[in-house]
Amino acid sequence: MIWVNTIVQGILLGGLYALFAAGLSLVFGIMRLVNLAHGDLIVLGAYLILVIVTLLGLHPLLAVLIAAPAMFVLGWVLQKYMLNRVLGDDILPPLLVTFGLSIALQNALLEGFSADSQRLPTGALASASLDIGGLSVGVLPLLTFASAVLVVLVLNRIFYTTSLGRAFRATSDDAVTASLMGIKPANIFAVATGIAMIIVTIAALYLGMRSNFDPNIGPARLIYAFEAVIIGGLGSLWGTLLGGIIIGLAQTIGAAINPEWQILSGHIAFLVVLIFRPRGLFPRATD
């Protein structure tokens, strides 16, 4: 029974990692951009929610409704005025710019909020749990997982049934031809990063409600997100969800054997997948 519990906890933790990863996966799928500041943007989102909660006295679940549009605008501006300038065949400029952004963000947060760890107030939600077939499952982990599934569903729906999604797919396939059809790739990219930032805010909400955070934890979140994307296969959102679950499972099982092995087990699971399926479990993109 303990093992069943461990596995259920692992799968639910995977929901959080899938939320970390979905934005990264979306942006990479559309513009082949890897944003090294992704983890730090999640942490920024958590601080933004914290500020709204503190100033307006709202519950984090409501505060996220204010934070998400703000993060959308931030993502839009970031893409339109900074990242679009460095997109191109050379992978070096976007990597170095986002790496600089990552270091700058971390230290701006340190300066603004100090290195003390923070947590979003959750009220009764933190300890609430449901009894499912003899297993006690936390409401918050369940909510996280459900949100991850919902995010993937909605993103896939946008991708395959809306005109915006058509523009995403067209720009992803061939930006030059898409621009001949009246699409402005620069704007499409800006909207895509904006949407990714909404997902980042949702990820930040659950990160902040479930555990402590401080300005330095961004890079580790980036690494988990990255592992989930690679395991799932580039460009597949369902794959990313599965990738998150695999990392979550590996970490929980590793921690059950020896608490010091938690993080290490996640990384090793990633490396094992890389040996046997270098292009991930569900590769879609060809690069």
């Binding site: 400029p93 990597l95 710019v97 990255f226």
Partner: protein, 354 residues
Amino acid sequence: MSTTASYSVSTATRASTIAGALGLVLVVGLFVAPAFISRSLIQDLFFIFTMLTLAQFWNMLAGYGGLVSIGQQAFVGIGAYTLFASSILLGVDPVFAIVLGGLAGLALAVPTAFFAFRLNGAYFAIGTWVIAEVVRLLVAQWKAVGGGTGTSLPRSVRSEIVFTETIESLSGVRAAAARDILAYWLALILVISAIAGIYWLLRTKRGLALAAVRDNMEAAKSVGVDALRMKWVVFLSAAFGTGMTGALIYMQKARISPDAAFSVTDWTAYVIFIVVIGGIGTIEGPIIGVLIFFLLQSALSDYGSWYLLILGLIGIAVMLFAPRGVWGLITDKTGIQLFPIRRTLHFKNNKEEG
């Protein structure tokens, strides 16, 4: 009467010849400098030399090899830990253990490349980072060298480092200062060998192949360049050099912990900023970059996180507005190249009576 055109190929320019002569004077000056300068200046120069060595190797990877690694701290850390482990546990003299540190970096680079070369471009970057994290977490489990909290080089090891007694008796300084001078000379030898070695590599046929792979891998392959082999050569040599540098840095620090030795900020972020600000893809760039970096650090180190915030913003600004860095701006204006690798043809018209 027939005219035959003969030509010679050379890479030297007048600026490079002058720079070479001045460089030689500078090197001799730096070798005798410890006799005249203060201990704190020796330590500053040690810092500059070691950061410059790391920067040259990262530049070789990213600027010439197209391999953007964010995991070079893995090689710094493994080199440093090899020095500590071999001198504490096996009694190897730290100076010789520096070479072991390089070999450990080389040994780690083989499995790292095996995994990371499966990832392309940007994903290669984070892949190397993951491996550096794995190595850090594994080393933190190694209780014999202090586990997660780290350890110090015992006094018995430190006091018996070769050459220090000779330096002590020759210059009349105390043991700690003598160790700093020894570390300074080793760092100077390392940085000169790194620059000379990389410059030599770039001027050989392999250097041409490397540039071809970086600029267009498919085209390079089509003319018979073994792209993957070039990547291995570059990655392994960078790992060896970075491992030796890591070992030397921590021999001088004499105190190690996994978080410090595998720090992505200290050993990769700083190095990337040095290369980017100075000018990526040139040998001159990192030299300029490390001087700017050192001046910035001296000026801003009292401001804590502001310093890194500003460094990050400068890095972004350089990448956006002057992607070839400070050295790029200088060459655009003046055309000067101190380490030219471009081959130029010089024609000579020889008239021969037939």
